[in-house]
């Protein structure tokens, strides 16, 4: 039994962290808000050089052939950097979906391009009518009736939907379903969609850990420096207790997210329950961090120039993506009270069939 990451996994995390510190400082995030698409192909290309887009793509297609456990810490760094590129739909959701589908031709066409950083994919979420990053996607994976379709962007009609987060680009999408674009139907489509949801939710939860860490760090730094009545405000018990409660929420969410990574990667029987627990606790931790860091930063937090709200908005956006907290809580309750699924099974994780 070992509930921790390997040295290699930590090394990958370090690599990504350094990369993002250099290539995606908060100024970069802000500058993208002003551009038309809000996305940077140049950046994506550099991201591909360190292998992130193809992390879950098999080696024979040019990817790293890793799993979601390997991705977990990378996603924490993505969250810490408030990176808004379509890492989740393309790298976390679409790549394994294509890999797991029975549609070999589609997989062989798109997986290498994803790994090489040459293609972006957007995926419709079962929990929302809005598709993120549809405007920069080369391929859109959409549902129609009982089938999943792979639709090139020029075959889809996009309508932009404004959102509170300038990093987030949401669209309603219409298309004419064609038989030759079907990836899967019926039970197979449901399975792929369920896995997509669990991967998407897990990935957002993992990012929330990074967002929460960043907000706590900013709050601790700020309260250590800012003085009032001659002492740093961080020495006041009230402030300390607020931040301590946040730290507990963070560590608990982290435990759930790390376990969910394992459940998704090993496709355990408890996968959906574990993912929902992770999404709920990480979402709440990040939202609470957003609220509290605003509070301890005082009036300063409200101004546009303050970087704080970059992460606050990420917290809100990630909370709503791939099933809100409320949605996941309900899924969890249904599993706990109706199916009586064991969320905690002692000592061993049962493997899925």
């Amino acid at each position: 039994m070992e509930f921790d990451f390997t040295e290699d996994q930590r090394l990958l995390q370090e690599t990504v962290r350094e990369f993002l510190a250099g290539e995606c400082p908060v100024e970069h995030v802000r500058s993208l808000w002003e551009t038309e698409t809000g996305r940077s192909p140049e950046f994506w290309a550099k991201l591909a050089e360190i292998g992130v887009p193809g992390l879950l793509v098999p080696e024979e297609h040019g990817g790293l052939g890793m799993d979601e456990i390997d991705f977990a810490l990378v996603l924490v760094e993505v969250g810490r950097a408030a990176l808004a590129e379509p890492v989740v739909p393309t790298a976390v959701v679409a790549a394994p979906l294509l890999r797991e589908s029975a549609h070999l031709a589609l997989a062989e066409t798109w997986l290498p391009r994803i790994a090489a950083g040459e293609a972006l994919v957007a995926v419709a979420q079962a929990t929302s009518p809005l598709v993120a990053d549809a405007h920069v996607a080369d391929l859109l994976i959409l549902r129609s009736g009982d089938a999943l379709h792979a639709v090139p962007r020029d075959a889809a009609r996009l309508t932009f939907q404004p959102s509170n987060d300038p990093s987030q680009k949401l669209f309603t999408v219409e298309f004419d379903p064609q038989e030759d674009r079907r990836i899967a139907t019926g039970a197979a489509a449901d399975r792929l969609e369920a896995a997509a949801l669990d991967r998407g939710a897990f990935a957002c939860a993992a990012q929330q850990i990074g967002v929460c860490e960043q907000l706590i760090e900013m709050s601790v730094d700020y309260t250590t420096q800012r003085k009032q009545f001659g002492v740093p405000i961080g020495s006041f018990q009230a402030v300390k207790h607020l931040v301590a409660d946040l730290k507990v929420a963070l560590e608990y969410a982290r435990s759930h997210v790390e376990r969910a990574a394992h459940s998704v990667a090993r496709d355990t029987v408890t996968r959906s329950v574990d993912v929902s627990m992770a999404k709920v606790s990480a979402g709440e931790a990040a939202l609470e961090a957003a609220r509290i860091s605003l509070q301890v930063h005082g009036a300063l937090g409200y101004t546009w120039e303050q970087d704080l709200h970059v992460w606050m908005r990420r917290a809100w956006t990630l909370d709503l993506a791939w099933g809100s907290t409320a949605w996941h809580r309900e899924r969890l309750a249904a599993a706990l009270f109706e199916d009586a699924l064991p969320a905690a099974s002692f000592g061993f994780s049962p493997q899925a069939g």
Binding site: F3, I216, A244, L332, A344, F346
Partner: protein, 377 residues
């Protein structure tokens, strides 16, 4: 990352389950000293009492993983605690193993395991609670004896103890935590008086202990003079995943869910009530998080990382969860919450547990200052 156990570890788990199937009645008898004695005799045969202690001193020599497994399996079946003398097994024995002379080890360790010695710990004083280093109970060396004067309070089980693990001040001239010494004192020493303190459930488990010119040989000092703080704060060989606590809480939550199944709320079955479902799910999430976080701590321990203040995290959450769970229970009882039944009285008992572990605000201070590095006052 791997949640599997090795075949040997799995076999140990099976061994424990077989033992429980054979020897633990269902339901587990409560308040039955005869049963407990017999139960512990059988555990002792397996060397599961003092499982983490070295085999040369009668313990089981169990490694961290197997300690974890033993605790988890026992808690899952609501078995009584491993061993009758909680203080002796948890605090005193390990401290003697780490700091004691061979004579002290020979004198006390097996007797603790066999429940022939019963220990209480003398730490808090009336003016000294959270600020333990400020303790005042005085011990003066006279020849080859210490002469002790002062008082202790909140001493659990002092009224039935044979020995007290006593923190005294031997040097009032140095920094407060430096002048503290640890003494192992028999409770039948002349000059010791015990007065029980009744708690709000009507039971007396806490006591006041008065020391009036109590003499004890130098040989009863544990560790060097002035080292008492280190002796008490020193690392225990025990695994620190908190698995017993989180498993107990999981069992408690299962009971509450059962209660919700039987109770009604606003005219509907309580388990169909949105508010109840939400609260139960929230608690499930947090108890599971406690368990997982404990597993992370265990992994750290297995890898030899020194334990820091991380246990404050689970301790803080436990206090909050105990409160929420007891409140939900009382609500589900409806008007019957007014009565004096077992369940109702248990909802008072958690106050004692939480205080014993250090109040939530103390835990928050530890987390903020020692883990996050925020400025102290």
């Amino acid at each position: 990352m791997d949640f599997h156990f090795t075949p040997e570890e799995q076999a140990f788990r099976e061994e424990i389950r077989a033992f429980l199937d054979a020897h633990l009645p269902d339901p587990v008898p409560e308040d039955d000293p005869g049963f407990l004695r017999e139960w512990n005799r059988k555990l002792r045969e397996k060397r599961w009492v003092g499982f983490s202690w070295p085999r040369e001193w009668g313990g089981g020599g169990g490694d961290l993983i197997r300690q974890f497994i033993l605790k988890e399996e026992m808690a899952a079946r609501r078995a009584p605690a491993l061993g009758l003398d909680f203080m002796g097994l948890t605090w005193v024995g390990p401290a003697i193993i780490a700091h004691g002379t061979d004579a002290q080890k020979a004198e006390h360790l097996e007797k603790i395991l066999d429940d022939e010695e019963h220990w209480c710990t003398g730490y808090s004083e009336p003016d000294v609670g959270s600020d333990l280093a400020a303790l005042q109970c005085r011990a003066v060396l006279e020849g080859d004896e210490y002469v002790i004067n002062g008082q202790k309070i909140w001493t659990t089980s002092a009224h039935v103890a044979s020995h007290i693990f006593l923190l005294v001040r031997t040097d009032p001239t140095v920094a407060k935590w430096k002048g503290i010494t640890c003494l192992l004192v028999p409770m039948d020493s002349p000059g010791i008086e015990v007065r029980p303190i009744e708690n709000l459930s009507g039971k007396a488990s806490f006591n006041q202990v008065f020391f009036n010119d109590v003499r004890t040989p130098v040989g009863n000092r544990l560790g060097a003079e002035g080292e008492g703080w280190r002796v008490v704060m020193g690392a225990l060989a025990n695994e620190r995943s908190g698995i017993s606590e989180s498993t107990e809480m999981q069992r408690h939550l299962d009971d509450i869910r059962e209660l919700a199944r039987r109770a009604s709320r606003n005219g509907r079955p309580a388990l169909e009530d949105d508010g109840v479902r939400r609260r139960l799910s929230d608690m499930e999430i947090r108890i599971e998080a406690m368990r997982l976080t404990g597993l992370r701590h265990l992994t750290d321990q297995l890898r030899g990382k020194p334990s820091g203040s991380e246990t404050a995290i689970n301790k803080l959450q436990r206090g909050i969860l105990e409160f929420e769970m007891s409140e939900l229970e009382l609500e589900l009882l409806g008007s019957a919450a007014q009565h004096q039944g077992l369940l109702q009285r248990q909802t008072l008992a958690w106050h004692g547990t939480v205080i014993g572990g250090g109040s939530p605000n103390i835990q928050r201070n530890i987390i903020a200052e020692r883990i996050l590095g925020m400025p102290r006052k």
